[in-house]
Symmetry: C4
Amino acid sequence: MKEQNEQPSWKMKLHEIIYEADTPMGRLFDIALFFLIILSVILVMLESVESIDQHYHKTLLTLEWGVTIFFTLEYIARVISIKKPWKYIFSFYGIIDFISTIPLYISYILAGSQVLLAVRAFRLLRIFRILKLVKFIGEASQLQSALKASRTKIAVFIYVVLILSVILGTLMYLIEGDEAGFTSIPRSIYWTIVTLTTVGYGDIAPQTSLGQFLATVIMILGYGIIAVPTGIVTAEFSRGKKGQADDQNMVHVNTQACPSCSAEGHRDDATHCYNCGHSL
Amino acid sequence: MKEQNEQPSWKMKLHEIIYEADTPMGRLFDIALFFLIILSVILVMLESVESIDQHYHKTLLTLEWGVTIFFTLEYIARVISIKKPWKYIFSFYGIIDFISTIPLYISYILAGSQVLLAVRAFRLLRIFRILKLVKFIGEASQLQSALKASRTKIAVFIYVVLILSVILGTLMYLIEGDEAGFTSIPRSIYWTIVTLTTVGYGDIAPQTSLGQFLATVIMILGYGIIAVPTGIVTAEFSRGKKGQADDQNMVHVNTQACPSCSAEGHRDDATHCYNCGHSL
Amino acid sequence: MKEQNEQPSWKMKLHEIIYEADTPMGRLFDIALFFLIILSVILVMLESVESIDQHYHKTLLTLEWGVTIFFTLEYIARVISIKKPWKYIFSFYGIIDFISTIPLYISYILAGSQVLLAVRAFRLLRIFRILKLVKFIGEASQLQSALKASRTKIAVFIYVVLILSVILGTLMYLIEGDEAGFTSIPRSIYWTIVTLTTVGYGDIAPQTSLGQFLATVIMILGYGIIAVPTGIVTAEFSRGKKGQADDQNMVHVNTQACPSCSAEGHRDDATHCYNCGHSL
Amino acid sequence: MKEQNEQPSWKMKLHEIIYEADTPMGRLFDIALFFLIILSVILVMLESVESIDQHYHKTLLTLEWGVTIFFTLEYIARVISIKKPWKYIFSFYGIIDFISTIPLYISYILAGSQVLLAVRAFRLLRIFRILKLVKFIGEASQLQSALKASRTKIAVFIYVVLILSVILGTLMYLIEGDEAGFTSIPRSIYWTIVTLTTVGYGDIAPQTSLGQFLATVIMILGYGIIAVPTGIVTAEFSRGKKGQADDQNMVHVNTQACPSCSAEGHRDDATHCYNCGHSL
């Protein structure tokens, strides 16, 4: 069917290398990309550690330029090797690829562009595809669908938690004075969420007896309502599992073993071995 | 069926706008109310932040007056447009509407009335209805019924946790001295609950070896018993799900409210209120 | 069947009042006991708060004496009104009743007997019976049987968690120095459990990069393994629910106690104690 | 069947004592080993507590030598009494036995060998076997298989959590300055994981309003996603339970170990090793 393709062969070749992972070159490219993405994330981290940045600033900058140039070339190659470039450019990955490439260029024009470096971590998601982890993708999509199914319930839950936090936070602000750290209602709400989610930093903590009593109530409340999202997701998972059993693409297998090759797991209605074709 | 209604038409019109969301005017009113409730909550928050209150005190007070006047008019309209006003006035929402309206008026008479502002957050619950989120209401009621079914079990659980906290708190008070922060038994119980619920502020922490050992036991205990409410709710959810699938007795409800008794949750095809028989 | 009973009638009467809750007098006694137990626990708490104890020492001591005398009389009445006193005296509740009565007497002989006051909280468990909460008892026993069924699994789980804590605690001790608070291996293990159970006081926290990295691993580990007890208990609950639905062998029990051996949980239609055969 | 065995009888005798727990001598040996392993772990702990080490240094060192010599003899006995020593030496337990024996010898040659003492805690795993807790092993393997089945899903989950931590940590680093403790991106990521897992030390805590807002989002996120591993494991447990109930193919195993290959988990009625065919 490839004769229908009007693209020059080098574009097709490039597309195969960059977008696919079936050829040796394509796999090599993916593995290189894999390590460069991780390297690029580690570089951003190391630059932020002052003691390291002071000693190895030049090395880090050189590596950063190397990564940026590679990403630039990769981005250009992706754009030109695909038939409908705009589709890639405005796709989720296309935008992330673009944003994680430009910070170094922009840093010469305007300060504060490091913010964009945070986006680079999103590229790590590409690794799922790079590793050809179809199995992983399957699992991820199962997770995703379980979360999607319980989306509305979780939204209601979070909404109720937020209202609760506003009410309890306001109460704590009225009970506790400024000296305990409850200096404003937003800060009190922040504390309430810290307590309700059982994080408990301790930077703000109630001092009065009444405040500590209410805090206790909030904790036990939080301890109890953590059960709700868990219950929702678990019920969804269990259902997903059962649904899977009903799945039309599944057949019952028996314990028969092929007389010729002793392969097991034949369909109930099988008359020949799926492995060697010998009649059962 | 509306000819049976003896109310003047402007009252009926008002009722439709305020209590229902089926007409364009009703929807507009609900959206306005939606934003005003959120605005009123944000206003209370901002007033509590000293640095903001100092700079924008006048603006905030003006907006607060605007919101209060709107809420006052809304409350009066709600009372006069309904056939049985007392039923609304003493309903859950009626009381919240009243309390969230009056603080500004009272603040001229007696100080400390800001406490009532905390109640305003309860109005946020109205948003469920405003957004016509019948689906959300369905999910919420599913959550509610799962929690209701496991109410007794959770009560037993919390009761046992409290007894445990009293016992362990008293023990910690006897083991640890004043210098570690365990100055009294109530305070020790507060610490025990902080630990048992895995919040862990760190404002009080055991210093002696024996105290730290007991603390370790409490933590592992807390780690283990967090499984209990989760197990209860999850089992209830899973059952709820199955029950729901089999349930033939469920009908769709809409957001209409009875003009006479303001009961909600009428069937889509209802022509009379299920509560008082008034025509809808 | 009561003619078989050879006890004097006043003993039988006393037994009915103290051990049962079916007669008006029995109920009155139970309610009085209910409030006195709660009062006695609150008294112990208030005495421990220095500021309260200084001002109301006399009042508290008087009330404490009142409670102690009531408990003493109740204990004596329980012993003499039952046929086999030793069975009560060495039962779980018998020992708790005794220990929660004596501290005030002993405090005149030897110091440090307040430790026994902690036991008083155990009497709160009696409230389950007092409130005639047969339903509650049912729920509690359901909780209990679910926990009992998963006992071995939870024991294995806690054992593995402890070994993990010892290993990781020792590693953290070797990585982090004294200045971060990891002054000894037991203290490091304490910190590991604080982290693994997601309590996180913050009194000890890693300072080195390697220590923080290992801490991160411990946290994610703890975040993950919290799923294990939850999974165990939930699976048990779900099974318990199904088992219960099918179970034809369950009967309703009441709060009556055998006058001879004080066994509880008799069938509604029982005429003889299931434990000793004495007529009820 | 033992006539097939060509080993000298004392070796066979030794093997029976050390590797099995069916004879009185074997049980005695196992119990002695049990207490010595626990003693050895406690010794390592006590040595690390400075105040104890200063006072009882000599006693501790003597006991440490005693334990080390016993472990040395045990290790030698294990090696010589088994037919294929290399299989034991390079097995999981063989390596742990070796490493937990040598630290004291090495400490005379090179410093810092205490690191190896941490390995000693792994020997505690042997206790499962020593206590003949076949039932426990069953439970443990059930836990293990449930965890194994959900391995890929948990890996995906942890991977997503890590990416999220990198992204959110970088954001927090950009929002919060150095004074709040967010001095570098790795440190920010450490804080994000501390928050996401609801540990919450409080050594680093956001100071700005925006930072506290994002922290709130992270907490609620963490509160929600803790549901995911729980849901995964619970669904797996429930499935495992059902599978087990249907399974007719389960047999009881005992604690005997093959004298030739030291494979464990033989059927109660086995006369030959299932692994190498050697007679038991």
